[in-house]
């Protein structure tokens, strides 16, 4: 027999965006159900687990050592020929999370705020009555359930099944996805206070190889490449490990996934369905990081969900689309434009830029002043000698 449930808001997917929405809406006193298909929320992870330190205060998340694996002080960037650029801060700039704990704790905060949470609940379809979506059909531990909700939140990741079934266009061209592959493994010889990034068209086409330290000798070692590449992400990562004489026989985890790095949804809410996070392609197209973007979008979405419930006016959900595009969409479109310009750099360009920047200007990068950095590059003789490089850099300004 099918169990019937009823909530004000049903959130499908307990990654990052889903629990933030569930927590924020439940705090305002509305009934919320957060469901996730996984038996253990957070596992398996599909993530390199690095995030900026600012998110904890900004999104009211405790700085809890249970999910903070390591504090990070900056980054070291490696060019194809081995030039290095180090950006190091005096204070902690980011952390490497333990996503398996972090995601579950976000769901816990949602539950503690009043939301119901059901893991191992796989949503299979939407329920329509008179053409309108009124809920979702799911299986909880294999048993059918029908969950009715005034508002449905599709936080169901890159597959975005619910958004698509609601008729929201989530299509993005294949080039706007990254294919990602990662080992959590034992690895020596890298400063564990920094994240490490390798660039190069033979190393990681369109993307980069990363080492995100978790211990002195343990790290997430992964790669992201353009998903329309005829070779696999695994091929490129294994090649990189071999070429760098890094032993790959101490693998603690293998993580796999596809990351949207462009193609942001034009329509983030349709009737009573709201799309957030990877499902809405809300990921930074430059570095493929989606956690902070999911938190931002989830915060805006939850504000408008609460207003729509307060005023019993679902039309207000459209304001989520408007506000996200005004605040973050415009910014991410600009980042996407930069990514497209950076994609045109060849290995020699990358060598020159990183070599030039490895001198006196790292401080400007550390301050986040990219425009000043590009201006500095534009003054350098190795750049000035190339009309193509000048043109590429001007695209970044």
């Amino acid at each position: 027999m099918t169990e019937i449930m009823k909530y004000d808001v049903v959130v499908v997917g307990a990654g990052i965006a889903g629990p933030i929405v569930a927590r924020n809406v439940a705090r305002e006193g509305y009934s919320v159900l957060l469901v996730d298909k996984k038996p253990a929320i957070g596992a398996p992870k599909q993530c390199a687990e690095g995030i900026n330190i600012s998110i904890f205060e900004r999104y009211d998340i405790p700085y809890d050592k249970r999910f903070i694996n390591r504090e990070i002080y900056g980054a070291r960037i490696y060019s194809p020929s081995g030039y290095e650029l180090e950006i190091k801060y005096k204070k902690v700039s980011g952390v490497i999370l333990e996503r398996k704990v972090f995601d579950k704790m976000l769901a816990f905060y949602a539950a503690r705020s009043g939301a119901d949470v059901l893991s191992r609940t796989e949503v299979e379809d939407v329920i329509r009555e008179n053409g309108k979506i009124v809920g979702v059909k799911a299986k909880h531990e294999g048993e059918p359930v029908e969950i009715y909700g005034d508002i449905i939140v599709a936080a169901d990741g890159v597959e975005s099944t619910i958004a698509r079934k609601a008729g929201i266009n989530t299509y993005a061209p294949p080039h706007e996805f990254d294919s990602a592959y990662e080992y959590e493994m034992l690895i020596d010889g890298f400063d564990p206070d920094l994240i490490h990034l390798w660039f190069g068209n033979d190393v990681a086409p369109r993307g980069y190889v990363w080492v995100f330290p978790k211990d002195e000798d343990r790290a997430n070692v992964g790669i992201g490449i353009n998903s329309d590449n005829p070779k696999t992400a695994k091929y490129y990562l294994d090649k990189w490990l071999k070429e760098n004489n890094i032993p790959s026989k101490k693998l603690l985890e293998i993580n796999v996934g596809v990351v949207p790095v462009g193609g942001f949804l034009k329509e983030l809410a349709k009737e009573n369905v709201v799309v957030v996070g990877d499902a809405a392609r809300q990921v930074n197209p430059m570095h493929g990081g989606g956690m902070a973007e999911a938190m931002k979008a989830g915060t805006i979405a939850s504000k408008w969900i609460v207003k729509a419930l307060e005023e019993e006016n679902l039309e207000l959900l459209k304001n989520y689309t408007t506000e996200w595009w005004e605040k973050d969409g415009k910014r991410l479109e600009r980042v996407l434009k930069i990514r497209k310009a950076v994609e045109k750099l060849n290995d020699e360009d990358l060598d020159v830029f990183i070599e030039v920047l490895s001198g006196t200007d790292a401080e400007k990068i550390a301050e986040g002043n990219y425009t000043e950095v590009i201006k500095v590059l534009l003054k350098h003789p190795k750049v000035l000698m190339s009309a193509r490089r000048i043109s590429l850099l001007k695209e970044l300004l």
């Binding site: 890159v158 597959e159 294949p174 596809v258």
Partner: protein, 65 residues
């Protein structure tokens, strides 16, 4: 005319990450927590899923006729 194909999965290689379903423009693939499913009637033979798979778990075979 585009050659009609059937997408096949190597279950031993597949991580059920859902990436192929995410890039599929026509909802021809469904990945649940326990299985990978292909819907031939929806497939447009674009092969985007095959390239996108991070581990090369997908392949295709031509359909006759």
């Amino acid at each position: 005319m585009v050659e009609k194909i059937k997408i096949i999965v190597n279950e031993d290689k597949c991580y059920l990450c859902g990436g192929c379903a995410g890039v599929c423009p026509s909802l021809a693939i469904k990945v649940s927590s326990s299985k990978w499913e292909f819907f031939q009637d929806k497939c447009i033979s674009c092969k985007i899923c095959i390239n996108a798979c991070p581990v090369g778990a997908l392949d295709f075979e031509p359909l006759e006729g």
